[in-house]
């Protein structure tokens, strides 16, 4: 248990199916660990319960079978030591960017002076200096996303959980955000669990890729990605070793994609 910050231990979960008496088994005995300072990508076909795993790590959902351990402590309620970056930015529309980023510190009782300092440095880190007094509706999608990340970084959570955070962004913004995320997480030495359905994104960002199968999902493989950092997010194929790493993940993943289906 030495270096594991987060451990999923034989997680199983069923969800009620609409219009049916029996439940759908979504997660079926998933176990893997996340080491300190590592970037772990969780990848799987849609509907396989990737996001459910994150909710369990945050304590928003208690697994039916198995358990999640955070630093050897079983997660049984809201886990306030993690940070959650959702699919949509989910900034509070009634607060300015500055107030949004400040909120976690306010909730945790950090003194006003320190709050101000940390908010300023978090906003600077994500490149949003000068937009402190803007409301979310005045920011672009990418800026909102940056704000959402700043709001998580600002309280230095033990683990950052990211649920397909860049899925809704356009291609250019997305590459930029990936590049910035790599720099931020390297600087902070953060432990990140990153859910995605994009293989390239997973291989480029992660130290380790957990591949899940279709429902009822199991862990197909846990692949180490040893590409040197910093990696080039804009030209993935220029990273030495990228092809082999991509191949290793794709080999596991391809069986889960129904290629025989007419498109």
């Amino acid at each position: 248990m030495s270096d594991h910050v987060l451990a999923f231990d034989a997680i199983g979960q069923d969800f009620p199916a609409p219009g049916q008496r029996t439940n759908i088994r979504v997660l079926d005995g998933i176990s893997f660990e996340v080491d300190r300072g590592k970037f772990v990508a969780v990848i799987g076909p849609s509907g396989c319960g990737k996001s459910t795993l994150l909710q369990m790590a945050a304590g928003l959902l208690i697994p039916m079978r198995g358990a999640v351990h955070h630093r050897s402590r079983r997660v049984t309620g809201i886990n306030t030591e993690v940070g959650f970056v959702p699919q949509q930015a989910q900034l509070f529309p009634w607060k300015t960017l500055c107030e949004n980023v400040e909120l976690p510190l306010l909730l945790r009782g950090v003194a006003a002076g320190e709050r101000k300092e940390r908010v300023a440095s978090a906003l600077e880190a994500v490149g949003l200096k000068g937009f402190e007094q803007h409301f979310p509706s005045q920011l672009s999608g990418g800026m909102q996303k940056r704000g959402s990340i700043a709001r998580t970084l600002v309280y230095r959570p033990d683990i950052i959980l990211m649920d397909e955070p860049f899925g809704a962004l356009d291609a250019q913004t997305r590459m930029l955000m990936q590049s910035d995320l790599q720099n931020l997480s390297m600087e902070a030495g953060a432990t990140v669990v990153f859910v995605t359905h994009d293989i390239t994104e997973a291989v480029l960002l992660a130290d380790q890729v957990a591949v899940l199968s279709q429902r009822p999902s199991r862990l197909l493989a846990n692949i180490q990605i040893d590409l040197p950092r910093p990696r080039n997010m804009f030209e993935p194929f220029r990273n030495p070793g990228f092809e082999a790493a991509y191949d290793a993940v794709w080999t596991e993943f391809r069986s889960q994609i129904d290629t025989g289906r007419a498109h």
């Binding site: 928003l60 306030t80 959650f84 509706s137 005045q138």
Partner: protein
Amino acid sequence: MTDLAYDTPPSVESAAIPPRAWAERFAYGLLAVLPGIVFLLFWQWASGRLIRELYVSKPTAIAARLYELFASGEIYPHLWTTGQELVFGYVIGVAGGVLGGYALGRSPRLARIFEPYVMAFYGVPKIALAPLFIIWFGIGVGSKIALASIMVFFLVFYNVFAGVRSVDRELVNLTLVMGANQRQLTYHVYLPAAAPYVMLGMRMAIPYSVIGVIVGEITSSTQGLGLFIHEASATYDPAGVFAGIVILLGFVMAAGALAGRLERRWLRWRNPSATGPGDI
């Protein structure tokens, strides 16, 4: 909520409008007033020509009557009574509606028990309760306050209830993970999220509070605008009836404008681009 340097005074806001926009505004203002003027002119002309003046009076007579009422001070006791009833009825109704709507919105269990009852009472025509309220609370201000507040209550209640229920569950979860306790969750998430609905309910409730008070006064009272209108119509004095109605109209419009100002201030985040140059 914190007011930072963002709170630009309204003068700055209007100064930012270019002269052409001003002209446009003025033109639209004129256009909006025009139908009203045409209507008043037609009324003035038709009275005594198409319709007997005894039935509809005429604008000049109503204006003269209004002047007379205020000059002689005859109207002030009525205004004072009705004003009191309106303010108390409105405030009590809004407070009850916000508290009740919020409590039921936050607690699904409470909602499951009480929602059918509130729904049932919502359908009851509250006006029909006026005579009962007179019996219960007397012919003084009490019965009118009760009637106005019950009408206001249901409107505000339903808006706030719907508003609190519509709060995004993910946003709530996110705030909990950030470390919020229930009190902080209420202050930072539920209340601001429900604020637009509270404002909507409050605006919609203004005319209803007037209806409640006036119906109460017409049913039975010793003083008030409703009584004044009732007596005027009973004595074939249409100018008096319309004078009373004009006063009520003025009150509703003034209250509506006030609520609009309040709404723009509280809900600045909904339409922030109007506050200054910030569009990107």
